[in-house]
Amino acid sequence: MAKALIIDLKLNNIGSVIESFKKIDVECTTKLTKKNIDSADFLVLPGVGSFPAGMKYIKQNKIDVIIKKFSKSKQKKIVGICLGMQLLFEKSNELGLTTQGLSLIKGKVVNLNTKLKPNNKSLIPNIGWHQINVKNRDKLFYRKINKQNYYFIHSYCVETKYSKDISSYIKLDGKKIISSVQRENIFGFQFHPEKSGKKGSFLLKSFVSSFVK
């Protein structure tokens, strides 16, 4: 049974995330003990919340140290969901101030409204289901999730420094918006697999079987 360490930032939808992993037989814990950290196969940084509030909590509780150390063992995986994915980047300008992120992936978090200008017709936040387009179909996992519908809810999006870190995108007002990223053992999903019905559950299951165990 794969073991997941779910980071509780006190402002995320931790309940849904835990239930969706339990459903696919992943053992979940939120307690940051040394034993749990060492035995976890992967770490999940869930979504919901503002970037500054998320980083503040991470710093105050020294969770950044845990995540960075965790990322160094390459057989262990890190999964960021929604805000959790954005926190993996270098910086964000959410709420009009620059906040440093975890810097595990090179790039930044920008406002969707600004990104879509001047031809923006989409209502922001982007709330609802989109079909994702996988960029690199070499890996079976990405072939499995290509062209599937997932649930998005966000007002900010990421821009990567290296385009090879982009694994999929959606289109908004004709522009490509990154929907997932991967850099070595670090994964990020802008959408919520835990809220994307059976297709989302299938994604999580495939993720575990492809990359974890």
Binding site: N13, I14, S16, E19, I124, P125, I127, Y151, S155, K195
Partner: protein
């Protein structure tokens, strides 16, 4: 982007309820039974609206949210009686994904800014209960249509967006529960002011009704109660357990006499798809 079809479940204590113009609430059964059905039936999201919103009932509501998150792996929005940042945290912790504020925001609009700072704009929506007088003036209600606000409804729609609310849900109280058509006049009036996703609720009684609302660019979603709930109840195999609490006159009476066109979420989605509305099927 697909337009969302959202079943809305009004909750009173342990029961799913539905009335007309938010009054005369009939008990319809267990909310969990209905939400699980809707999840299986391709709902895009689920709304739980606590109609009593008393502090006493909070525990029941959180238990329900928690249970729902074990069965329904789609977004769950919670509204009704959310008064503080702590309340929002509790909703999220128990498995809810976003909230809609109404009374609390009308009393103290700063709560919108404060909660966005914590949870981000996309988690915080505002629900608006709109009513109109015979002369055609629109006004704001709150507390499940029981109280009247003196704020100007158009100013309020602008203000909540300026403060960063991520979504707006509109209930037309005069149309709610009748299934005889919606408040399109009001949608026409506010359409230009809308910059965030809009959910419309109240009055849908046919496929065509849903289509007429979703045709609006900015109506990103429609939330429906009666058509979906009654569709389940009219099924021969529908069973309910009578609890101590609730008004069971409707369920234990002659349900066949119900005059309401009912349909399932999938049936509605198939119709909309044919009419070229993008829905997830």
């Amino acid at each position: 982007m697909y337009k969302r079809i959202i079943p809305r479940l009004d909750i009173k204590g342990p029961n799913l309820v539905k009335g007309i113009s938010l009054e005369g609430l009939r008990t319809l059964g267990s909310p969990e039974f209905f939400s699980t059905k809707y999840y299986e039936d391709e709902a895009d999201e689920i709304i739980y609206h606590d109609v009593v919103a008393s502090l006493y009932d909070r525990k029941t509501l959180f238990k329900l949210i928690k249970q729902t998150s074990k069965n329904c792996f789609i977004p769950l929005s919670v509204s009704g009686g959310i008064r503080s940042v702590r309340d929002i945290e509790n909703v999220l912790k128990n498995g809810g994904d976003k909230v809609f504020l109404n009374s609390a925001a009308l009393k103290n609009p700063q709560i919108i800014n404060d909660s966005i700072k914590e949870f981000g704009s996309s988690t915080i929506g505002i629900s608006i209960e709109v009513s109109f007088s015979p002369s055609g003036t629109y006004f704001l209600l709150y507390n499940y249509g029981r109280e009247l606000s003196n704020r100007d409804i158009y100013d309020w729609i602008s203000e909540i967006q300026d403060r960063g609310a991520g979504e707006i849900s509109i209930t037309s109280v005069n149309h709610d529960g009748y299934g005889e058509g919606m408040n399109l006049k009001f949608l026409d009036k506010i359409h230009k002011k809308i910059r965030v996703p809009l959910i419309y609720h109240g009055g849908v009684g046919s496929f065509q009704d849903a289509y007429d609302v979703l045709k609006y660019d900015k109506v990103n979603a429609i939330s429906i109660s009666s058509c979906f709930h009654y569709n389940e109840i009219m099924k021969k195999k529908f069973k309910f357990i009578e609890l101590d609490e609730g008004n069971y006159d409707f369920l234990s009476g002659d349900r066949e006499k119900l005059k309401f066109k009912t349909f399932s979420i999938i049936q509605l989605k198939r119709y909309l798809k044919k009419k070229k509305i993008k829905v997830r099927l």
